[in-house]
């Protein structure tokens, strides 16, 4: 009985796989793409979209190998990835689907409310070790980072650390949820998460990228009007040759209907 069901599902998967559009890549974008695919399939019942994660790099290399139609990426395509695509005779198009802001979070009891980019760089590269150096209590700073496979890890390194390396032996957590959990129960902790994940258990600090002149609180409004600095685009990449195949879906994501899904999943809409 069970076997028949499994075989049935499997063969169904194969049949639908023939016409399906495949999206692969960033785990950050996974909830967004899934939501978009769901409502897109509801609106166009003849279409099938299959979404899988794995990380931004995984998605782009799948695009090179031709095993996916769309790559979702939470970072811009790298130079050597572009080279690889060129070598295989493909040109890609980039579409920004939404924006995501990274919030810097600390324990709710922490007095520190403002941090400059330079201070954050010092903290995550291990040069600033105690909260009193940035105007807080005499308490050891425990920075939490994501694992190296995450696009968030790369973006934070690029944007906040200016490509310097994280300190040796930084605490690295396997998921965003784990970072929130750890920061909420560790007094000296600091970490970074996507804006959509913010909750009451942690406190978001205000960030300044101009050396401490203006500190901006992370929120949907400040991220949208461009005053909050730690914002990254969420991108779809596809091969120009298969444009006709993927265009309807991309257009749907960019439509008002699709952008409503962006807002619902906690990301920042384009307009």
């Amino acid at each position: 009985m069970n076997k028949t069901v499994a075989v049935l599902i499997f063969s169904l998967g194969i049949i639908s796989g023939v016409q399906a559009q495949k999206i692969k890549g960033s785990d950050t974008m996974l909830p967004l793409s899934q939501k978009e695919a769901e409502s897109y399939m509801k609106a166009n019942s003849s279409q099938t979209v299959i979404v899988t994660g794995g990380g931004s790099g995984v998605g782009i290399s799948a695009l090179v190998e031709g095993t996916t139609d769309i790559a979702q990426s939470s970072r811009k395509i790298k130079f050597d990835e572009k080279q690889k695509l060129q070598k295989s005779g493909k040109t890609v198009k980039e579409v920004t689907a939404a924006y995501d802001a990274l919030a810097i979070i600390v324990h709710p009891d922490n007095k520190v409310a403002n941090l400059t980019r330079e201070q954050l760089e010092g903290i995550f590269t291990g040069k600033i070790k105690n909260w009193k150096e940035v105007g807080g209590a005499d308490l050891q700073i425990i920075p939490y980072s994501r694992e190296t496979s995450s696009g968030t890890y790369e973006f934070f390194k690029e944007s906040v650390l200016k490509n310097k390396n994280y300190k040796n032996g930084i605490m690295s957590m396997p998921a965003t949820g784990a970072i929130i959990q750890s920061v909420s129960q560790t007094k000296g902790a600091i970490g970074y998460v996507g804006l959509a994940y913010l909750n009451k258990d942690v406190k978001a600090v205000r960030v300044s990228y101009d050396g401490g002149k203006t500190f901006v609180e992370p929120s949907l409004t400040t991220a949208k009007d461009g005053t909050y600095p730690v914002v990254r685009p969420l991108l779809y990449y596809y091969v120009t040759a298969s444009e006709s195949k993927v265009k309807p879906f991309i257009d749907y994501v960019l439509s008002d209907e699709g952008q409503k899904n962006v807002a619902n999943t906690g990301f920042i809409t384009l307009k």
Binding site: G54, G55, G57, V58, S61, F79, D80, Q83, T125, L139, Q140, I142, E147, T148, S149, S150, N163, K164, N165, N168, G169, I170, M171, S172, M173, P174, A178, Q181, S182, Q185, T186, K187, G188, A189
Partner: protein, 399 residues
């Protein structure tokens, strides 16, 4: 007629069994060969990121930089060439992407044909520059440019290095010592914690408990082994970690201790079941002889049963260690995964399985990071193989 048919069918079944047995062995062997082939490729890879090179101004006397020196240069910790055996000249960093902010795409020509020339110009203008460039666009013919020598990643750096930073550019650091020690550290303390209660329960179940209690207790303990490790990990993260942090007043709760405690709970069923089986195997005649000589129940357990079951108990310990060494998910969630040399139980550690699980997803296949993770897998394989061979040897030894 019937007889020959039966003989043929028996032969056939036997053949299938032989085939499946040898297939399994061959598959295992192939996996091991694959593991080592991928892993050992690391030592034939350059220590600067594949496909890239470091260039300096031709007047610079420095010929080669060790990956550690490269890291400190690109982290702006070393700022003068003097510290690296060069001239008294300030170091200027130049990453490849910066060329695109200096020149527009038109200036770089069709298909970037003018790129090497422009890069040569940039390097020629600055005596203190160090540039990190793809080999494809290397200004190799330019007389103003000197390319630093790269060497293969050395086994010494891998096995004795203390910094595990496999994704940094230009030169990743693959020091696996903190990972190896971290794995052993967490596992050994897990066994030290699990052994006393494990043996206690085993003695209780085999010697003291009534038949009814035993029938209830045994499946309950075996149930412990069936809980998915993610559940253990999550339980550890939300209850054990804050508990450790608050009772011991530590700055962080994600410590080796949390990992050891979780692993101890996970290794308990293995230890209890095997140790109990060994004790129950003590021949009845030996127990009765002991009691007949006037020994009390406790003396019998202490002087007869435990010595008799010694090899079984040792096997239980070794298999418990084996269970702990390979555990991935639960440890990954509670130990904080900081790749530092383990110094105490109250610091974060990173284990080999957690490293492989966390990093393999994004490591480009065939690259040095990928190979280094396979090599870590080889190390883990060797450790667990030593453990199982030891267990085999101990349990074969008759008392």
């Amino acid at each position: 007629m019937k007889k020959t048919f039966r003989r043929i069918s028996e032969r056939f079944v036997q053949g299938i069994f032989t085939l499946s047995g040898s297939m399994t062995s061959i598959v295992i062997l192939l996996i091991v060969v694959f593991l080592f082939k991928e892993g050992l490729g690391l030592f034939r890879s350059p220590d600067i990121e594949k496909g890239y090179a470091l260039c300096v101004h031709v007047s610079n006397p420095v010929e080669r930089l060790h990956p550690k020196e490269v890291k400190s240069v690109f982290d702006s910790e070393t700022v003068n060439w003097q510290d690296l055996g060069g001239n008294d000249e300030e170091i200027t960093l130049f990453r490849f992407d910066e060329i695109f902010s200096l020149y527009s795409d038109e200036e770089l020509g069709d298909d970037y044909s003018l790129l090497p020339q422009k890069l040569g110009e940039v390097i020629g203008q600055n005596r203190g520059i160090i540039a990190f460039l793809p080999e494809k666009y290397l200004p190799a013919d330019d007389s103003r440019v000197k390319i630093l020598r790269t060497e293969n990643i050395s086994p010494v750096d891998f096995f004795a290095g203390t910094e595990w930073m496999p994704t940094i550019t230009p030169a990743p650091l693959f020091g696996s010592l903190p990972l190896i020690l971290g794995t052993l550290w967490v596992s050994i303390f897990a066994i030290l914690i699990a052994l006393p209660p494990g043996l206690g329960v085993a003695i209780y179940m085999s010697e003291l408990a009534g038949e009814r209690t035993r029938k209830l207790l045994k499946p309950t303990i075996e149930l412990l082994a069936g809980i998915p490790s993610v559940v253990y990990g999550f339980f550890g993260l939300v209850t054990l970690v804050p508990l450790i942090q608050n009772t011991l007043h530590l700055p962080v709760g994600e410590t080796a201790l949390a990992g050891s405690l979780i692993l101890a709970i996970m290794a308990l069923p293995t230890i209890i079941t095997i140790a109990e089986d060994a004790m129950r195997n003590t021949p009845k005649s030996m127990r009765e002889a002991s009691l007949a000589l006037g020994a009390t129940h406790w003396q019998t357990i202490y002087r007869v049963v435990i010595p008799y079951a010694r090899s079984g108990i040792s096997a239980a310990v070794v298999l418990g260690v084996g269970r702990a060494v390979g555990e991935t998910m639960a440890v990954m969630m509670v130990t904080g995964n900081a790749a530092v040399m383990p110094g105490s139980l109250f610091e974060s550690v990173r284990t080999i399985p957690a490293t492989i699980a966390a990093e393999l997803g994004e490591a480009p296949s065939g690259g040095t990071h990928y190979q280094s993770l396979f090599l870590l897998g080889c190390i883990l394989f060797v450790i667990t193989m030593i453990i199982s061979v030891t267990a085999e040897m101990i349990s074969k030894k008759t008392p």
